[in-house]
């Protein structure tokens, strides 16, 4: 009886001890992590606040955005810039007296205000360039899409020209050109975007649910040889990169290098065979070379 009782008591004690140690351990880990995080965090925090203030300072003083705002007629924006500047000065003062939290609040405010000020005054030069670039891009897009559509139309047996209203597209383009001459690129781009979408939809409809088979059929043996040579070259480039950058151990490196040298030899042999007129043989040699190179790459851990 007493044994039973002691046994159970012992168990209870063990369990309680375990519970206590675990809880303490957990608490210590959390609070220790907490403490070290706290110290590091404080330092990191004050560093990040001072960087924030530096950025704000650069932006409100001598940035192109500030210059743009000052040279504009927008009084609201100028007022915002002034506010941002005073927020910056405020933040600098607070940082000097080590009131990090207040400094951060001022810096954040300053950045928000500066962003608003900057967006209130459009960078007309940049926007103009962007609009012009977009205009050219859309014109090119419409041209290449309509060319593609016409190519498809001529390839197919049945007619698909009903899918695209070319007259409408051309009318839209000339309208857009007129607007562009008047320097109204915004409206021109709107028109062109609509036209581009129409041509894109026509293309999508022309090729709806189709499958194009790109076979490995070459027009001539020379073409196939060029293809194989380029393919082999791509594996060489990968192998070179691996040799340079990957830490392969000495023995492997030796094997690797000899495989690369072997490939070089194959390439030269293939070139010679072409010179002697045996293009088919040359293609086979290159194919084998590529296969061997691929095998070496796999052996070095490149998985493909």
């Amino acid at each position: 009886m007493k044994n039973k009782h002691n046994y159970r008591q012992l168990l209870r004690v063990v369990v309680t001890l375990l519970l206590i140690t675990n809880v303490t351990f957990l608490y210590c880990e959390i609070s220790e992590a907490d403490n070290s995080v706290n110290d590091n965090a404080k330092l990191a925090h004050s560093n990040s606040v001072s960087r924030k203030i530096d950025l704000l300072g650069r932006l409100v003083q001598n940035s192109s955005a500030a210059a743009r705002i000052e040279n504009s007629d927008n009084d609201d924006a100028k007022a915002l810039l002034k506010e941002a500047r005073s927020a910056w000065e405020n933040a600098v003062i607070k940082l000097e007296v080590m009131n990090i939290d207040q400094a951060e609040i001022s810096a954040r405010e300053g950045l928000i205000i500066m962003t608003r000020a900057s967006s209130a005054v459009a960078d007309t030069a940049r926007l103009k360039n962007e609009r012009l670039a977009r205009y050219k891009q859309l014109r090119e897009r419409i041209t290449s899409f309509t060319e593609a559509f016409q190519r498809i139309a001529s390839e197919k047996q049945e007619t698909i020209s009903y899918l695209l209203d070319m007259e409408n597209i051309e009318k839209t383009i000339s309208q857009a050109e007129k607007l562009a001459k008047e320097d109204n690129y915004t409206e021109a781009n709107k028109l062109l975007a609509g036209a581009a979408d129409s041509v894109e939809i026509a293309l999508a409809r022309a090729r709806h649910k189709e499958t194009l088979l790109h076979e490995l059929k070459f027009n001539s043996l020379e073409e196939e040889f060029a293809y194989e040579k380029q393919r082999n070259h791509s594996y060489m480039l990968l192998a070179d990169l691996i040799k340079k950058k990957k830490k392969v151990d000495e023995k492997r490196l030796h094997e690797f290098q000899s495989s690369l040298d072997e490939n070089e030899k194959m390439r030269k042999k293939a070139d010679e065979m072409v010179r002697n007129g045996d293009i088919e043989g040359a293609i086979k040699v290159l194919e084998n070379g590529t296969q061997n190179l691929a095998r070496t790459l796999r052996a070095s851990g490149v998985v493909f």
Binding site: K4, Y7, R8, L11, V37, N40, A41, A44, H45, S48, Q137, R141, S144, F145, A148, D197, E200, I201, L203, A204, R207, H208, K209, E210, T211, L212, L213, H214, E215, L216, F218, Y227, Q230, R231, S234, Y235, L237, L238, L241, E287, Q291, A294, L297, V302, V303, F304
Partner: protein, 207 residues
Amino acid sequence: MSRLILFPAKVIFSLMVSFAIMALSPAYVNAADPNAFNRLMKPPSDRNLPPAKDGIHDPESVAANTLQPPMESFINLPKSNAGNYVDWVKALESKKIQPRYDKVDPNAQPIVMDLNIVREVKGSMPNVVYPHKQHTEWLDCSNCHPAIFIPQKGANNISMASILLGEKCGVCHGKVAFPVSNCRLCHSQPKTKAKPAAAKESSQAKK
């Protein structure tokens, strides 16, 4: 008497339970067991870690605890076996995510082109089926044409090496889109069916 036996039995049982939890926990399998299955594969416990633990975010930065942990976001998305371990295409199709096609207009719709390109490959690997449909849901024509792919048969020389080097398909796949670890996702058309007519049908059946 029976109570005396039962209580230690329960203790032993709970000990077994806790050791079982430890043993089955994948993190411990890899750390402890040299003969573990798929030793070098990233175990589920290592995937999609929160910013504070993911090895690249600075755990001492404010961001580490403010940024959303990826797992929170991925928990309801369809799974996959590589990359983010999320099947983004399926997520879009099943409307689990609704990313905008226009910066400001949430209702803008993409112009989707449903066109498959079947590329015959040398050797015994199945031919590659490239589906425009899944790509045009996300991308614009100008993203790939003509800068990365010339829209003409025979004009693009693509090899696995070039993909691994980050060219052609490798511009996205293996960097931000799903990696090329699962061959069948692209090499999906066995060579025996390589006739264009049959290819049309099989392309409709696929995906």
